[in-house]
Amino acid sequence: MRVLMFGWEFPPHISGGLGTACYGMTRGLAFCGVEVIFVVPKSYGDEDQSSVKLVGASQVPIKRRTYSFSQEKQVGSKSVSTSHALEMTYIEVGSKLLPYLSPEEFQKYSHEHLQRNEVSIQEFDNGFASGTSVLTEEVGTLDFTGKYGPDLMQEVSNYALVSSEIAHEQTFDIIHAHDWLTYPAGIAAKRMSGKPLVVHVHATEFDRSGENYNTIVFDIEKTGMEEADLVITVSNLTRNIVINRYGINPDKVVTVYNAVEPGTESGAEIFEKSVDEKVVTFLGRITYQKGPEYFMEAANKVLKHSNNVRFVMAGSGDLLRRMIRYAAKLGITEKFHFTDFLKGRDVDNMFAISDVYVMPSVSEPFGISPLEAMRSNVPVIISKQSGVSEILKHAIKVDFWDVDAMADAIYGLITYESLPLMFQHYGRDEVNNLRWENAALIIKTQYANLLPSRNKSL
């Protein structure tokens, strides 16, 4: 069984949970013997400038490499896990698609950067977080007649055009597209090949924008779901949105929960905490969707009754400045800290010094970060409006708006000694049992249902 998969990011170039999820999922699928061709648009700045030319009007650079999954951090000469089954074809398309930007933001961003002639927002890391690229093959460029413009919708349709070319070149059994930016690509590939399309809903426009949603994005999402032979949602919360808000037939919408990669057991050195107080952490994009103000209000309540605590808001986003002003207004800045955007090692270190992790999301289709916290033995408080709350037992669940309950849970976790012990005993085990291999197996079964019966044994 071979799957043509359209993503929009892949580690280490990630700006949210999607890239991490795609990584885990493809790795899990490879483990289950499913071949994956992963297509990802990349920003120019990420490209190796020596081999990729910046785009003219009519050409898109395509780079293909064989990507090998490995459990070990260092894949040396005697690596045992680079068997054929754990390999994946990885295709990068020279596109400027940027995740987590609304069309309006994208336009603004494109203008700014086109004027300054710099496109990258993230530094480029060589190599991958875990696993190595063992074979890089420049396959030249594909001709297509699209144009790049400062318009996200144009980018999306350009990506779709490129993808139809890729679909033409490759052989595969299933098309799998992750989130709306890649749905047109998935649809194009389906038209070109006639193969079944799976769309994977990691978030909907309602999660990103609330009720002030972008109708064009909504239409793309709806079309993608309607065209799809199967819609996978990351939680029942999202499944209900897909069914109720997009009017999709419930029979073809299934929930497959995300998983988390097993934690690094020994390799990581223990990061020492430098303050005496308990540390309570919020980590994520500081946007409406993530509910940072509820965290701050809860912090304010706790700080009125306890000296033995500090709060950290880690991340950046459009509400960051407002949050800083709000903290100043509440007069809690002495015990309430901001770190701006954290990545890689800093994230691990942040978890290492945290005593409580809070995810007060207003709407969270899944929410993988609490799992990462629990993997580091950090007790978590999560909002009931998150997909992950459907599967977690050993977490304290509160309504995002219930600041009293959130404050009470924080206070309990930093005050009553047995609570952190509970999480050390049960939480970590619970998370370690959420394996991508299991999720991938469910996805594989779903694929099999879509195949014509003679191919099912593949």
Partner: protein
């Protein structure tokens, strides 16, 4: 002849209200009156009142041939008095028939026996007095909260003057032995042990209305046949269950009341069967052998142990925290504090914190006011924190960094002295220049003296 010993257990805890940490030190009322009243009214209407009426008519109809046994917790009786006094009247009527036995237990439906033997004794005495005052009888047989039993618990109960005690006929306790015999405590043979026949009891209590059960629907004729099915030398069967089985756990619509009535009539009509009471069994039977239960057993969950209440860290912390202040409760000797102390000890609060909840959801969720064990723990501990503050105020206990000063020694003691000296210094400076103190010392007028003593008094708080 097979005699059926029918015993019903009744209990409802005082459920706690939502109590946040910022209520600590401010709000000293802990109970969810609305919920407690609601549940009490509902259960009284669906179960206690109609089932009592049914039993009363049977008791009067079959004068002496039909007998039942009850145990009612003190907390339940308190709630009857508050919310459903008619139920107490109804039990008094049952008691007056003379064919009803009441058992002893802890007042609070607590696990005091696992924490403090003295407290256990105290609660049992309180309960005994309550039963005597309401029903005019003195129990001679003991049943512990949730049938918690072990050799040492049995020994304790025997020393308190009881001749018999109820326990779970758990597989790991009995092995090949039958629950349909009388046993004796291995440490103190004077105490007889009556064991619950859990198979036959749970056929009614848990499975009666379960449509996926292969024996559903359960008819009283079939059940009577099962009762008579045990070997001929086993001449009694102990059916112990929650009284809430009748109308609450098994809904009224399931026909549970009709089943009970028919069964009683069939048992009396059948020449081979009849009814008996725990105290009668103890009088009329020889115990067949010793029963050894080294670790506490109970009638809860698959494990039949105490892990539903003391299985995880939260439950242990909550239990130990509450037990650790017993001496302050005694010292305070305050009726309000003593009452709260009793109500907080109800084992239900620990039960709500069980993480087995995730596996045994159906049973554990019953009347559970909390979303999760974590929720239950935090709420309970907030209340205990306030309770301890009240105790400390009442007993004027001073705590330094979490340790009562009377228990300080070594380094922490020196730290405390240093700290308090520092604080005193600051306070003296705050009061003003030393001349003032000198003034009040020099001018030994009555008025000045009064002011000084007043201000020192204030500082103590």
């Amino acid at each position: 002849m097979k005699n059926i010993c029918l015993y019903f257990q009744l209990h409802q805890p005082f459920r706690l209200k939502r109590y946040r940490f910022f209520d600590v030190g401010k709000d000293h009322y802990y109970y969810d009156d609305y919920l407690n009243k609601l549940i009490m009214k509902k259960v009284a209407q669906r179960c206690y009142i109609p089932t009592n009426e049914l039993l009363y008519s049977l008791l009067t109809e079959f004068n002496g041939q039909f007998k039942v046994t009850f145990s009612l917790t003190g907390i339940l009786l308190d709630q009857f008095e508050l919310y459903a006094p008619e139920v107490i009247e109804s039990f008094k009527k049952l008691a007056a028939t003379g064919h009803v036995e009441f058992l002893s237990e802890t007042y609070s439906h607590s696990l005091a026996v696992l924490g403090s033997p003295d407290e256990f004794k105290h609660q049992v005495t309180l309960h005994k007095e309550k039963i005597q005052s309401l029903f005019g009888v003195t129990p001679s047989v003991f049943r512990n909260t949730e049938l918690v039993y072990s050799d040492t618990i049995g020994e304790q109960v025997s020393k308190m003057g009881y001749k018999a005690m109820l326990a779970e006929g758990a597989k790991h306790v009995l092995g090949w032995k039958s629950p349909n015999f009388l046993y004796y405590n291995v440490l103190d043979p004077k105490l007889k042990v009556l064991l619950r026949n859990y198979k036959l009891s749970d056929d009614i209590a848990f499975r009666f209305s379960n449509h996926s059960w292969s024996e559903w629907p359960l008819k009283s004729e079939k059940y009577l046949h099962w009762l008579k099915g045990s070997p001929a030398n086993e001449d009694f069967v102990n059916l112990f269950m929650d009284y809430e089985t009748f109308g609450e756990h098994q809904p009224v619509e399931s026909g549970i009341h009709q089943f009970l009535e028919n069964l009683v009539r069939l048992i009396i009509k059948d020449p081979e069967t009849g009814f008996t009471l725990p105290s009668e069994i103890v009088e009329s039977h020889q115990s067949v052998g010793p029963l050894s239960v080294p670790y506490p057993s109970s009638w809860a969950d698959e494990e039949r142990d105490v892990s539903a209440w003391l299985g995880n860290e939260m439950q242990k912390e909550a239990f130990n925290k509450l037990n650790s202040v017993r001496h302050l409760v005694l010292q305070a000797n305050d009726p309000e504090l003593s009452k709260d102390w009793g109500y907080l000890q109800a084992s239900d609060h620990l039960y709500y914190m069980s993480t087995k909840f995730f596996a045994d959801q159906a049973v554990h969720n019953y009347f559970n006011p909390y979303n999760s064990p974590y929720d239950a723990f935090i709420n309970f501990m907030n209340i205990v924190s306030d309770f301890i503050i009240r105790l400390e105020k009442k007993t004027k206990r001073v705590v330094y960094k979490g340790i009562p000063i009377e228990e300080l020694s070594g380094e922490p003691l020196n730290d405390a002295i240093e700290d308090y000296e520092g604080i005193l210094k600051i306070l003296r400076q705050k009061r003003g220049p030393a001349i003032k103190i000198a003034d009040s010392k020099i001018v030994k007028s009555a008025g000045a003296k009064a002011t000084v003593s007043k201000s020192t008094k204030k500082k103590n708080f």
